[in-house]
Symmetry: C2
Subunit: 217 residues, 2 copies
DNA sequence: TGAAATTTTTAGATTAGTCTAAATTATTTA
DNA sequence: TAAATAATTTAGACTAATCTAAAAATTTCA
């Protein structure tokens, strides 16, 4: 099996490459709060284990087996988040760091039984899809609120920022996963957005609109 | 906080000293599958942190704060074992190694909510008492089957050996926690024991009788 | 296109935990 | 009670993961 440090590197590389395919040493270092020289050392180890494709000075990508490992970690992380929120009544802004610890318990049987116990949830509390035991998941067609047009309606289905302060702000505004909202106005000057939520008008900044995902209707 | 290795040492020292008060370097080494020299190194670290009383060549005992840490680990271990058996349908012979990993997730809040979620169980699946959040637990008055007299009746309330092979043997004999048994015969020659369980007579070896605990009626 | 800036790697050191082999202390027993 | 035996500690080395500082490669852009 892989060490804790190796798992954290694989997960970071997965998140950095899922959109643009290739990650650099510095971006990995900053996402793991470590130094570039430490990253270089680890990249060699991961390459020796055939978990990444690594060409010095050219960045890295995950191999098929590295991606499988990374998706396993992400599956565990999201299932534990779901467990913490749905079974132990944690709030969605409290579970990230805990799940970060729990995701490293590697028993496949444990995770599959946990999945069954919870009824095979499809999404974690932040709307992220949960990979199944083979690493597959539907990539939902979501759109940023900041990219929506006036009068567009949608259901909040995900958030990009998982920081407690952002999630607590959403709680205060009663913006949650599953809420149906309509974009009623977009201010040219600062790109801030006015939303209709039930009977309420809510005005959010461009930055906030940039971190909320809605499903098209 | 303490490292994983430190936690494992504290737990081992707790188990070795709970009856006889003092543990030697070699006994710690063999219970952790490591070498005496490694133990000596770690004992110095734990003594520096005031978690153990250590006098070179004289063995060790836990300090009050070391005991508190150890009981916290044991609480987590036993609660996870209960969770695995009662919620995820693992068998009692399958949970030890998994709980050994899970016990190192240190969030107090997680454990207290897990405890609440399960209804504050008093015993793990092997009958071991679960310390409360302050480290307290009732030390049940139990007796070994091997120490019982003929005609004595009791309820199986614990097992000393937690190995899968022993627990699977008990399953096969339908001897489980909660079963009421009566000692009907004790063979002088080999100290083996005959039990009455419901309508069934069961003959067990001295070794087995030495690992089953019953509560006096 | 070639110097400046940026990114990445290398070299050498550090820490936690472990090991083997040798030395030391404690215990047993003749 | 002194030698033999057993238990424990010390000395020195190793691995994984990290760091700082310096060197090398790549990219940028004037």
């Amino acid at each position: 099996m892989n060490t804790l440090a190796e798992e954290n590197y694989l997960k970071a590389i997965y998140h950095l490459t899922v959109n643009d395919g290739n990650a650099g040493t510095n971006s990995i270092a900053s996402s793991l709060n470590t130094k570039a020289s430490s990253v270089t050392d680890m990249l060699k180890k991961l390459a020796d284990k055939a978990l990444i494709n690594y060409i010095p000075y050219q960045g890295v990508s995950l191999t098929a087996s590295g991606q499988k490992v990374a998706l396993g970690i992400i599956r565990r992380h999201r299932l534990w988040e779901y467990f913490l929120v749905e079974k132990l009544n944690f709030k969605w802004d409290e579970v990230h760091d805990l799940a970060e610890e729990m995701e490293h318990i590697s028993s496949q049987q444990l995770i599959d039984r946990l999945d069954q116990f919870m009824g095979y949830p499809k999404h974690d509390p932040h709307g992220e899809p949960i990979p199944d035991c083979d690493g597959y998941f539907n990539h939902d067609e979501l759109k940023l609120v900041s990219a929506a047009a006036i009068n567009q309606t949608g259901v909040i289905s995900g958030v990009c920022d998982h920081s407690p302060s952002f999630l607590q702000y959403l709680d205060k505004q009663e913006l949650k996963i599953g809420s149906r909202i309509t974009v009623t106005d977009i201010i040219d000057y600062d790109h801030s957005v006015t939303l209709q939520l039930n009977n309420k008008k809510i005005h959010i900044s461009c930055e906030v609109a940039n971190n909320i995902l809605i499903a098209n209707e």
